[in-house]
Symmetry: C2
Subunit: 485 residues, 2 copies
């Protein structure tokens, strides 16, 4: 750990403004969107091109110093949280759109390009980049790749994995590889899928070839009110069972609609126990037909009221409430903790009931806002960190929700990643044999485990200490038999 | 290699009818759909359940004997070709549909279940399994998972990877892992995507949770004639650029339509240089609207004639020609070699021209039949193996086509896999650094490289001997520097 030599080597390849080690300069990087956890890195580097990234990784590899990559820092699971022994590598200076091919419907962009900037750049071709996380105005495509981000339209248009064709990646050794292709499939093992969602543990992405989608001629939102949360949850399944794949299918409960309505005046029914927002897009004929079918299903499912957006301004207003649900919750509670889990759609009514029971048990309010069509929950647990014990209760409440998701056949994350936040729950999700495969894959890409240490995939020791371990083939594994990492 | 002990151990766990080692009994397993390569295995095992598969792999692992898994044997790249030193493991006796959940739109099936049998089983729920390889009446879901199979509808409905939620897999050690989940996403590295398309090199699948799709109310095919192949190729791009994602978008050239028309009388225009088949599905309103839009695009793109199917019988007749293109080619040529490569759609006109030039160069006819919407080519090279030199010329012609696919930014396979057929072209597609990652992944799952040896991922030595090696970062890699495997 020869810090002087490391710093000298980094200083030799980076302009002074792109290499920061003074505490006040590093302060902006001490956390990501999971702001309850903070740490200062060893130093911050801001490379401007792929060659600099390769040099930085080669230097760090030689010094056996770990590296944490950071996109826009909007992540909610602490995936970009620094480590005192690590170099923090920000891709913020790599924000060029390198090329756009409107015929192939693709664009090649650097990792620091903002999600929404891609759509803005290609808008004059009638195209856009489909995945739309709520943070899309700020989050970067590199971070989206690391987290396999989704958004309100991913039910119809897919997650990041479904909208990225090719990546250039620098491995920890400084080697550069290209994975994926400009064609629709690629031979050999699916390294592209492996890299997407790997949370910065396998390599650092320097170029992303994204798939662009033609902008639909028209989009219309139907907003339905329900007198019980269960009825709204059941209606979600009915829509899908009717053969409709809506462009978006979102649910908010009364705690959420009331918080939002005071804030953005989206026109929500605050008496309803829950509302559903169901978007249809396509040609005017397709949209009219789909909205009619959806409305019929919603009515049969017991909707007490259905409103349909009459124009684009109204549609955007309906969505503005959903997209501002997180900041709106901040107005009614000093602190909130946004969870992210995915369940089979059929389990929605049961899980919503159990979350309500947990809310009682922990004495904390919880607003439910989620991508209902995907079964991707985002419960917002409200608490006050200044009241002793509330932060801990919020964390325990959150952990219980995640374990409930696993219990009903779902997963501990939909789109926010594992990071540091959910690393213990990985022990509930996966057996030691499954986690061992993941460690072996890590080893294949990053032999000395220098990329983003301590994130995403727990050691088996950590799981044993956490005390919850998925049993393997019906037999609990004794602590002493666990492989060591 | 204690054969007696191995055979004794296998005989102890399998009923006699499920363990074959007499030459005449093993003959049906000597090749898959790539029938120009044949070999006899050491023995054939036909396990009936997961526990038997785990036992077989454990025994083979202990004896360090390799194992080749085989589904229905319809694969076209030799992925299931036996090896004289390997046990051939057929999943043909594992053909039960274990459960169907119509609300979640999923079914859990064993690997030997035929692709079409899944759709037949769930038809009364108004559901079907979307990926439809031409061999769907015979091919098994286990083989589909191994090859990441597509079909004529995969442009809209995706490949196998997009239609599988969860797998149970036995690793070479006999350990059983579950990957994927009943939710829409899964944390950690994407082991599900890694396993799908891994051609039997990482594990043997024992249960597949497939996603089911609601059957559309109506499907209609528009069939357009073009006076040049280039115009038909360009029309494909125009349809996609117009924002339409057809349920199917297929192209056949005149050599293909003439061969087929004599055979199945599908009603094809045999004077056209090429025809496009474009399917629309959905509600009657959606279909009417989409067919009108597609027809307009086709007319503008220079279609000389457009026919639209008037009823289901006519639609199936139009497709029957496309689905029988391979056997029809067998009627006009003693032998044919079906290629499979994928290119960016915009490169269609250029690649079709170059294939025509290669056809001249090699003096062999080539019918072009392909999933145009995906840019997935299936050139059928016609030859007579009894004429000395023609098989070699056909293979060289095929290799040139694959390298052309890579050159224009595409890949050497769309849906048939690499197997033994395209293993040399993997050296053209990937750099040594990229192949090294694949070998390291193999090692993570199968330390002694016992599963399907010699398939899918070439050793770097093999690439060096093949004489074509993708250069890494602009510098050719000297033979002496290659890692050894």
């Amino acid at each position: 750990m020869k810090a002087a030599t490391l710093f000298e080597a980094l200083a030799a390849i980076l302009p002074p403004a792109n290499f920061k080690f003074a505490e006040e300069e590093m302060r902006p990087y001490e956390c990501d969107g999971l702001s309850m956890y903070r740490a200062m890195p060893k130093c911050v580097v801001l490379p401007e091109n792929e060659a600099q990234i390769a040099d930085i990784l080669r230097i760090c590899h030689a010094h056996r110093v770990s590296v944490v990559a950071r996109g826009a820092g909007t992540g909610l699971s602490g995936g970009a949280m620094p480590d005192p022994n690590s170099v923090l590598l920000s891709t913020a200076k790599m924000m060029r759109v390198l090329s756009v091919d409107p015929l192939a419907c693709t664009a090649v962009v650097q990792p620091g390009v903002r999600n929404l900037a891609i759509s803005e750049t290609v808008a004059h071709h009638g195209l856009y980049y489909a995945p739309d996380p709520s943070s899309q105005i700020a989050c970067s495509i590199g971070g989206n790749v690391a987290e396999n981000s989704g958004g309100v339209h991913c039910l119809k248009y897919g997650l990041t994995i479904h909208n990225v064709r090719k990546l250039r990646v620098v491995l920890m050794t400084g080697d550069i590889v290209t994975i994926g292709s400009d064609g629709l499939d690629s031979p050999g093992y699916d390294l592209l899928a492996l890299m997407i969602g790997s949370e910065g543990l396998l390599g650092i992405v320097t170029e992303v070839t994204v798939k662009l989608t033609p902008k639909p001629q028209l989009a219309v939102v139907a907003m339905a009110s329900f007198s019980t949360v269960e009825a709204a949850g059941a209606a979600v399944g009915d829509i899908i069972a009717a053969g409709v794949i809506p462009a978006g299918l979102e649910m908010m409960d009364r705690i959420a609609t009331r918080a939002v309505e005071d804030f953005v005046h989206a026109g929500y029914d605050c008496e309803a126990a829950a509302i559903l927002l169901c978007e249809s897009d396509g040609t005017p004929e397709e949209v009219a037909d789909e909205i009619a079918r959806v409305s019929e299903v919603l009515r049969k499912a017991g909707a007490t009221d259905i409103k349909v957006s009459n124009n684009e301004a109204e549609r955007l207003r309906y969505w503005s409430g959903r997209k501002n649900a997180f900041p709106a919750s901040g107005r009614i509670s000093p602190d909130y903790y946004c969870m992210d889990g995915t369940i089979p759609r059929a389990q929605l009514p049961r899980v919503l009931n159990e979350i309500a029971a947990l809310s009682e048990k922990y004495g904390l309010r919880c607003a439910n806002v989620f991508h209902a069509g995907d079964g991707n929950l985002h419960p917002l647990i409200m608490f006050d960190a200044n009241i002793p014990g509330e932060l801990q209760r919020a964390e325990d409440f959150g952990a219980d929700i995640l374990e409930l998701c696993v219990e009903v056949g779902g997963t501990i994350t939909g789109e926010h990643g594992v990071g540091i936040e959910k690393i213990n729950q990985m022990c509930v999700q996966f057996s030691p044999k499954e986690l061992t495969r993941m460690h072996d894959i890590k080893h294949a890409f990053d032999e000395h485990a220098l990329l983003n240490p301590g994130k995403a995939v727990p050691t088996l020791h950590r799981c044993a200490e956490f005390g919850k371990m998925k049993v393997s083939q019906g037999k609990p594994m004794p602590f002493a038999d666990l492989p060591r990492f």
